[in-house]
Subunit: 362 residues, 2 copies
């Protein structure tokens, strides 16, 4: 039986949409049908997720003209070329502007399907069904869609909002433990940047989360979505506060790029990146050693790396300079003045950055 | 010397922008600089236009970090694959979110550059410098950007507004006569759908326009931009009135697709398409034979075809069914109830459509 545990609305004016969180929502036609305006539906998934959940979703959508595209699984396939397979199918099937795209999978599938929906005939309906913890708490809120380029992650994309997000907590039971941990990185991030109480709750409940306790997971997903949707609602286009969500990401993207896409999971790189940003904040005197230790300990308890791989400081600087957070050559970083208190700054001593990078040498 | 002849504002709230129309505006730095917020500028052009005007524009932009991409010329290169060359250059040069893309060329360059600007880092600044009559009166107003797919034109794209449009009438002096005629198709269309007085002015001035009289051209460009921007301002997302701009286009796209991209110019296909739509309107009893004759005569006077190529009615119907104007299988067409009075309708006798298609048989 399907059970709606909770739901929330992301408030973006006329582009507002609901996020449903529950058990077996993949079987709940009532969650989908109000958001599908015509019979034409394309479900996009990947070779890992489709065998697990495609048939369930197809059964739920019976009576509609449902087509599917199953893409290869992995960040390395998040390219314009693979994206084109979605357009191929839409056009082969003569889908019109009233059609609906459903993303069934993790962040890569969500980003690509959302971008395809943004671009197909200049914009069609889009529903997210995120099946990984990372995508449930991160990619499904905020409207960021896109693909990678060999010279940088997420460099080609659009801001595009889904009509609805349907989160079935049950799908986490087939998620590899390593990917669960990667998702927890973003959960922890939300506490660190905005909500000390939520951070404390995570410290107390990390074991339940890793043991796949449904109530704990639903609470964490809801809490993270609330924090993120609050930030995004206030700042849809990332001019200001939204950039706080990049905490740990400038370091993290450098790690991902430096190691080659897919060798480190995004969440793992962000985990290490957050430890680096906390370290740097402490070296700047903005964070106490105790706060840094709590952050590092929670990231470790989530099963995540707390230090970067062996990249030289010079290579790190080079990798960070293509990051989107660099404005006209000036490096801006999200740093901390306490747990729950992040800020974006380009006014820091480069010495603290250099010492942070050097501190992890082999 | 550069001379601003006239300008108008396209009113789209916070995305409003000016259109400047004049002589030698390519040399007028004052038209560009207020719309370029950072030093990073990429000019995108093609192999035909770049040798004529790139150096002039580079001279005008001196002092900025200006890069260029020169694409092959032609509708057949309006693809995702060629688009990627723009992203390659932007990333090779480490252009950030504050950069500006300038489209120097016709509709294909404008559509591709605008789409690249919409997608690069999820949106950067964009200035249009349309150098063909068609793009001056059509592609540069309305924010439609995108690329083609083998199964349909403009199927992948975005609505994205430029910061400014700079129209240098002098560039029309290097335009092949056939392309000038193609641009006149859209000029005539604006009169037919919205403004009988403008249509009458065109009847009286068609010779001056084809003789490249600068005052006449500036007046026609302004008049067409005003009509189009009025329609677009009222209806940015094409739900209703904006669809009137598709007059002649459902037939026209079928011609273009059926003949293979590039064999008929877009404007030529629209010219023939408008004659077909006028014919069908007359067969429905909505347009008088005299009005149909005036429309056909003006299109002919512009140097445009007034009949489609030899495509069977069955093939025509097939080609029209993938057009974006088909909603859930129901064919919608823009038809006329008089010159200056267009309407969108799915409530017409299929017999009139069949007779229209059959009427042009070889």
């Amino acid at each position: 039986m399907s059970r709606l545990i909770t739901s929330l609305d992301v408030d973006l004016g006329e582009r507002s949409y609901p996020i449903y969180i529950g058990q077996n929502l993949l079987r709940d036609a009532g969650r989908f049908r109000p958001h599908i305006p015509s019979k034409q539906v394309l479900v996009v998934s990947n070779e890992t997720v489709a065998p697990l959940y495609m048939q369930t979703l197809l059964d739920t959508l019976q009576g509609l003209q449902v087509e599917q595209v199953v893409l290869p699984d992995g960040e390395e396939y998040k390219t314009l070329e693979i994206l084109n397979r979605i357009f191929d199918r839409l056009l082969e099937k003569r889908f019109d502007r009233g059609c609906t795209l459903i993303a069934l999978g993790g962040g890569v599938i969500g980003d690509m399907t959302g971008f395809a929906a943004a671009c197909y005939q200049r914009g069609v309906n889009f529903i997210q069904v995120p099946t990984t913890l990372l995508s449930q708490v991160d990619s499904s809120v905020g409207g960021k869609t896109g693909v990678n380029h060999p010279l940088g992650k997420n460099m080609i994309g659009a801001f595009y909002q889904p009509r609805a997000v349907v989160i079935d907590i049950e799908t986490l039971k087939t998620l590899p433990a390593r990917e669960l941990s990667a998702g927890l990185a973003e959960v922890i991030k939300h506490g660190i940047i905005k909500d000390a109480d939520y951070f404390t709750w995570l410290e107390a409940n990390m074991e339940r989360l890793r043991a796949l306790d449904v109530d704990a997971l639903a609470h964490a997903v809801e809490g993270s979505c609330l924090i993120k949707s609050r930030v995004v609602s206030a700042d849809e286009r990332e001019a200001g506060q939204r950039a706080l969500l990049n905490f740990g990401h400038t370091f993290g993207h450098a790690i991902e790029t430096g190691m080659g896409y897919g060798n480190w999971l995004h969440g793992e790189a962000v985990g290490a990146g957050m430890c680096m940003a906390a370290r740097m904040s402490r070296l700047l005197g903005w964070l106490t050693p105790e706060e840094e230790a709590r952050i590092t300990a929670l990231i470790e308890a989530a099963g995540l790396p707390t230090a970067p791989p062996d990249l030289s400081p010079a290579r790190f600087m080079e990798l960070m300079s293509v990051d989107k957070k660099v404005m006209a050559g000036q490096l801006r970083l999200v740093l901390l003045k306490g747990i729950g208190k992040a800020l974006i700054s380009d006014d820091f001593s480069m010495d603290a950055l250099q010492r942070t990078l050097a501190g992890y040498g082999a």
